[in-house]
């Protein structure tokens, strides 16, 4: 009677039984990579907007402070999206005939809101508050990236929990003096470029960060990595 299986089947079956571990591990790894990829997180992906508003032009080009438009960022959870009136503060005078700005003028005429596409959208089960981060010395660009170099807005971070925790586990690595929070070109201290604060000179982030954690009374890492800090 002829053999049903060829002799090589022995080797193949051993290899696949042994290899299954790796195949399963690979699948888990691949799934995790997909979850972290811009395909899922939209990190670095420009979203279409009703008006191609350029932060680069308004922030770096004209030197307008973040708070001119995002007025509630220091006092509330929500940074605030400016009403059409804020646009018209200047655009009642400049670029009054530009077709790109027609949706803005239409919004003012008809009293209908401009419908922007939300770019930094945290899941609804996450509690996030802008004001506390600003008061503890977290710079805008620490989370939002180089907004002054973004002709169109995209989210800089992945907004994944691990991304939040990176900083909550070691806040001293990112803190800066409060006066520098809205400075989009702030650089962490180095020996060439020390940061002066309270009559002291800090030449590295470790010493500055540790000082600021105490000065701004940042809670302990155990507190700010506790589940109910963000999931409340």
């Amino acid at each position: 009677m002829a053999q049903i299986f060829h002799r090589s089947t022995n080797t193949i079956s051993r290899a696949t039984i042994f290899g299954a571990v790796f195949i399963v591990a690979f699948l888990f790894w691949a799934a995790a990579q997909v979850q972290r990829s811009p395909y899922v997180t939209y990190a670095g992906v420009v979203r279409p907007q009703p008006v191609p508003f350029s932060h680069q032009h308004h922030v770096a080009g004209l030197g307008i402070d973040c708070r001119y438009c995002h007025t509630s960022v220091e006092e509330s959870r929500f940074a605030g999206i400016p009403p059409t009136k804020t646009c018209m503060n200047c655009h009642a005078q400049v670029w009054t005939k530009a077709s790109l700005l027609e949706p803005v003028r239409e919004s003012l005429r008809t009293d209908k809101s401009l419908v922007w596409t939300r770019v930094n959208d945290l899941p609804d089960f996450v509690y996030f508050d802008h004001s506390i981060h600003i008061h503890k010395g977290v710079g805008c660009d620490t989370c939002h990236g180089p907004v002054d170099r973004m002709p169109m807005m995209y989210n800089y971070g992945s907004l994944l929990m691990e991304w939040c925790l990176n900083c909550h586990r070691a806040p001293e690595k990112n803190l800066r003096p409060r006066e520098q929070v809205f400075n989009m070109r702030y650089q962490q201290p180095s020996s060439d470029n020390p940061v002066l604060l309270d009559g002291r000179s800090f030449s590295d982030q470790d010493s500055l960060g540790t000082y600021l954690v105490t000065k701004y009374k940042v809670r302990t890492v155990a507190d700010i990595t506790s589940c109910d800090t963000c999931h409340r």
């Binding site: 030197g63 307008i64 007025t71 959870r77 009642a92 089960f125």
Partner: protein
């Protein structure tokens, strides 16, 4: 049985896809300024009912909210609260956010935005008329706007408007001070360099720094 074998993978796929629902991510509640299909203007953020007084917003102190001497239309020449260094620092910060795009950090009206096509630039705070203008006048203009300047009532809280007013007065003093007004023990500021053209109006350079023919030649 053959049927079940065909259906089983499909059923598994359906079960797996069910895990992709985003119900927890997008809960049926409104985030600030989110769209609402319930109201005809599609806004979830509702304007307060007319006559609503928010807590702490009674506006009983009419001078604090109008800059006008109570019972008259005359702007007052006093602050509704004492000014200290903290108030001035706050005023400087707010001025630099909301006013400098047009008025410039110096308050001379040479901000960047009017250069991009405004019919005219704002006046300098250092002209005689505005140096003599009462404090309440500045508060009133921030609150209601003036000429092509829009009102900033929505962007700047009343107390911050007063802090800005105090800072404007400080700016005016800074540009019109004489040597004997400097308090004892304070360092004398260095004299302002002479500029070619209006300071802040564009590519103005201090005369000493500008390349000129008078530069000493390299020794040969």
């Amino acid at each position: 049985m053959a049927d079940l074998r065909k259906i089983a993978p499909l059923g598994t796929a359906v079960l797996l896809l069910a895990g992709c629902r985003q119900d927890m991510h997008n809960q049926p509640r409104f985030k600030p300024l989110a769209k609402s299909d319930f109201y005809t203007d599609l806004r979830s953020a509702r304007p307060p009912v007319e006559g609503t007084v928010a807590r702490g917003d009674l506006r009983a102190d009419s001078y604090l909210y109008s800059g006008m001497i109570p019972g008259s239309d005359t702007p007052g020449e006093y602050m509704p609260f004492p000014v200290n260094e903290e108030v001035l620092a706050r005023g400087r910060e707010r001025f630099n956010i909301y006013c400098t795009p047009c008025h410039s950090r110096l308050g001379d009206g040479n901000g960047i935005v009017p250069t991009r096509g405004f019919a005219r630039k704002p006046p300098s705070f250092h002209i005689d008329r505005l140096r003599k203008a009462p404090l309440g006048h500045f508060f009133d203009i921030i609150t209601h706007g003036f000429g092509i300047m829009p009102d900033y009532a929505a962007q700047i809280a009343p107390k911050d408007r007063w802090a800005i007013v105090a800072y404007i007065r400080a700016l005016q003093l800074s540009q019109n001070a004489s040597a004997d007004q400097i308090p004892r023990g304070q360092a004398m500021p260095s004299p302002m360099p002479k500029f070619r053209g209006d300071p802040g109006s564009g590519a103005t350079l201090p005369e000493s720094a500008a390349p000129s023919k008078a530069q000493p030649e390299e020794p040969k």
